[in-house]
């Protein structure tokens, strides 16, 4: 479970004599309860100020990467609720992300919608598609995984072949930049930073709402049906309806992120939304930690940063050996290696592993060679 839930609700039993102290007390206890959220928010606010001097020596454009982390966080949180809490695997979320991106791109480029309205429409359209696809949720386990994989492939083929609507392989160009009614987001040199803040305000809102949601009735129902659908049904949970609800919610978040992505990217083509993206999204959830909203953030961060770090490695180490360069896709190698290490040694994901380390002062690493180590 997420580390926040185990905390006690402060000790406000004696109630201060004056209103002022009690206000401070309640504010403090609120802050304590949302420690993780607040520190993430602080980090997000402060990050761009020190990104500039750091980016060049590191060889990694920090704000640019963090902007993508924000976008992926929105998708990963939704997918985490679906996979981690409700136990339903989806290998088709890259497609919903793509549907969101195409919706907003087509509406803004061809029908001249303002970008914010395009993004709202992206959410609505992915909700519709979510409902259309929802019947596959009757399947379980790897059958469900296969079916959602199929959904992803079908969506990809449509994006590529419906040339009159999507531009086919050439995709859609000249997508307008983000804006709000009456306000242009960002000016001149600060465009990147403005987009970054815009994305993270939305991502933090999504995080806040989701962390409340998983503690609500729906959250409890989700966890119940993850354990045993039969038991959940007996307890009065409308299993199929709860599953559809969480699935549609997660597709809506994918659509939201996709819509924003289209305007940040400026151009889209089907190759941005292949099965590889879907797998990456699933990896974010798994590496970050299932059943942990914060894990989604960590997963999105790790998976987005790894390729950038690998790309920057030659800058840090000097030349890359010839034989490595020959395998031009050594990004993939490092990526796979980290995945294996995480899965073998920290099966509950990095957030859980590290938070256990802090809380119980024990190594987060599982010894895979010990019998029954994996419980």
């Amino acid at each position: 479970m997420g580390e926040m839930r185990n905390e006690k609700r402060g000790d406000e039993t004696d109630g201060g004599p004056r209103l002022k102290t009690s206000l401070i007390r309640s504010a403090l206890s609120l802050a304590r309860r949302h420690l993780v959220f607040l520190s993430l928010m602080l980090f997000i606010i402060v990050m761009p100020f020190w990104a500039k001097p750091l980016s060049r020596p590191l060889g990694i454009p920090l704000v640019m990467v963090m902007r993508m982390v924000g976008i992926y966080t929105i998708v990963a949180v939704g997918l985490n609720m679906l996979m981690g809490y409700a136990g339903q695997v989806s290998l088709g979320h890259g497609a919903f992300f793509g549907i969101g991106a195409y919706t907003s791109a087509i509406l803004t480029v061809k029908a001249h919608f303002p970008p914010w309205l395009g993004i709202v429409m992206a959410v609505l359209v992915t909700i519709v598609f979510g409902f259309l696809v929802a019947p596959v949720l009757r399947l379980k386990g790897h059958y469900l995984a296969m079916a959602t994989l199929g959904v992803g492939i079908v969506a990809f083929v449509f994006m590529r072949e419906m040339t009159w609507l999507t531009g086919g392989n050439d995709g859609i160009r000249n997508i307008p930049a983000l804006s709000l009614p009456g306000i242009r987001i960002g000016e001149a040199r600060d465009y990147l930073r403005a987009e970054y803040y815009f994305i993270w305000v939305i991502a933090l809102l999504v995080l806040l709402l989701s962390s409340n949601l998983v503690r609500s009735r729906l959250g409890r129902a989700m966890r119940a049906l993850h354990q045993s659908e039969v038991a959940a049904e007996v307890m009065g949970v409308d299993v199929s309806w709860e599953k559809i609800k969480v699935f549609v919610l997660s597709t809506a978040l994918a659509g939201l992120a996709g819509g924003i992505f289209a305007h940040v990217q400026g151009y889209i083509d089907p190759n941005l939304f292949t099965i590889v993206l879907s797998i990456q999204l699933v990896t974010m959830v798994v590496v970050g930690g299932m059943e942990s909203i914060w894990g989604a953030v960590a997963g999105a961060g790790v998976i987005t940063f790894i390729p950038k770090i690998v790309e920057a490695l030659p800058k840090w180490l000097g030349e890359v050996p010839r034989w490595v360069e020959k395998y031009s896709n050594y990004e993939g190698m490092v990526f796979g290696f980290i995945l294996i290490v995480t899965m073998v040694f920290m099966p509950a994901g990095i957030t859980r592993g590290l938070s256990d380390m802090v809380r119980y002062r024990r190594s987060p690493f599982v010894n895979p060679f010990r019998r029954k180590a994996m419980g």
């Binding site: 402060v46 100020f49 060049r56 454009p61 160009r173 000249n174 040199r189 465009y191 990217q265 151009y267």
Partner: protein, 396 residues
């Protein structure tokens, strides 16, 4: 209370970081006089467009080296920051953002291919910084082109030149059009179909082929075209397609004249088509055969000769079209900078580039205006014929 104190430490640390930064921010303002003028360049030095990106880089570096040796712009040296986009739109966009936001360049050059250029256009337009591009795709100038300028001739100029040749010099009426279905070929097809009527020509058959089509498939396309009995075949594509078509036409004994596009204006076509290349006519920049079409002593001749000699001296290779694009791109920006002043803002520089008139470059004479950001005209091209595996000007 442990958690609260941890939070407090975090807050304090964050504040420290911010305050430290504002201090360094102030320090950075003290700068030397005659600071360098930064220009950002994004090229495809690897990936599919590598043969384009390498000569472009060579030309730009050489130009700047010579410019700085001669005192730069009003005493300010020019600094070019070159990044490789690996022929990938995403990387080009990332590079453009870094150049614009981190390096705060006053102008951008790039990229080699149309896809990466469109990605760069996006970022340059958002921030209002001029971009001089070296790609020829028609869609670059679609939509808002306020901030984009182009150096190479496009399908419009080349198409008009080729059609004028067919109508006036060959004096035929019926054109059979074979085009590559890639963006280069479809650009050409659109221009040819739109302009043919104005030259009194009729496109009697038009057939698209795939970039990777085999010889057998090409035969089918040729047969289809020939059933419409065209008096001339116009082929719009880049290698190897046009070379395969030339060979198949020779093998099948098709005697109709072959007119190509500016996409075959390189040695590769002659190598691939071999004997079949002889007699092929295509539009190309004058630079290709400048010593045969330009008057020695004229401004254009001397300009290209100077470029040719400097390039040969530095790199030991003959000049080519793409090196020419790089040379023109940096020339256009620095000439405008000389007029706008070394401390011109990107917006002032853009306005100055738009005022460029009669500027002699390697691709021709550039004339920009608020309506035309392509700069060249059909007169900047010449019709070239391949005779004995060599380029010769078409005799009138």
């Amino acid at each position: 209370m442990k958690k609260t104190s941890r939070l407090a430490i975090l807050v304090v640390a964050a504040m420290l970081v911010v305050s430290l930064l504002s201090v360094t921010g102030c320090g950075a303002k003290e700068e030397a006089e005659k600071k360098p003028i930064k220009i950002g360049v994004v090229l495809s030095e690897s990936g599919a467009n590598e043969p384009l990106g390498k000569p472009e880089r060579n030309a730009i570096e050489l130009y700047v080296k010579r410019l700085n040796a001669n005192g730069g712009i009003n005493g300010h040296p020019v600094e070019v920051i070159i990044k490789d986009d690996q022929s990938d739109s995403n990387k080009a966009q990332q590079a453009a953002i870094e150049l614009l936001e981190q390096e705060e360049v006053v102008a951008l050059i790039g990229s080699s291919g149309t896809g990466p250029t469109l990605a760069m256009k996006q970022e340059a337009t958002k921030r209002g910084v001029p971009l001089v591009c070296m790609a020829a795709g028609a869609n670059i100038m679609e939509g808002d082109f306020t901030w984009v300028f182009r150096t190479p001739p496009t399908a419009t100029e080349a198409g008009k030149k080729a059609l004028a040749y067919i109508a006036e010099d060959l004096g035929v009426k019926k054109v059979g059009l074979l085009y590559d279905t890639n963006p280069f070929g479809t650009d050409g097809k659109a221009v040819v179909e739109a302009e043919a009527g104005r030259f009194g020509l009729e496109v009697v058959a038009s057939e698209g082929y795939g970039t990777n089509d085999s010889e057998d498939t090409m035969d089918t396309h040729l047969t289809n075209i020939m059933t419409a009995k065209p008096e001339i075949i116009l082929v719009w594509g880049t290698n190897p397609g046009p070379a395969i078509i030339a060979k198949r036409m020779k093998d099948k004994g098709i005697k109709v004249p072959y007119v190509g596009s500016h996409g075959i204006a390189n040695q590769q076509f002659i190598q691939l088509a071999g004997e079949a290349a002889n007699g092929v006519v295509f539009p190309a920049g004058k630079m290709l055969i400048y010593d045969k079409v330009l008057e020695p002593g004229s401004e254009e001749y001397e300009f290209i000769k100077d470029f040719d000699q400097a390039y040969q001296e530095e790199y030991g290779q003959p000049i080519n079209t793409f090196a020419g694009h790089g040379w023109d791109a940096i020339l256009i920006i620095t000439e405008a900078l000389k007029r706008a002043g070394a401390d011109a803002t990107p917006a002032e520089l853009r306005d100055e580039i738009e005022k460029t008139q009669g500027l002699v470059g390697t691709a021709g004479i550039f004339n920009y205006s608020s309506k035309d950001h392509n700069g060249l005209s059909p007169d900047d091209l010449v019709m070239v014929e391949i005779i004995g595996s060599k380029w010769e000007p078409v005799k009138k």
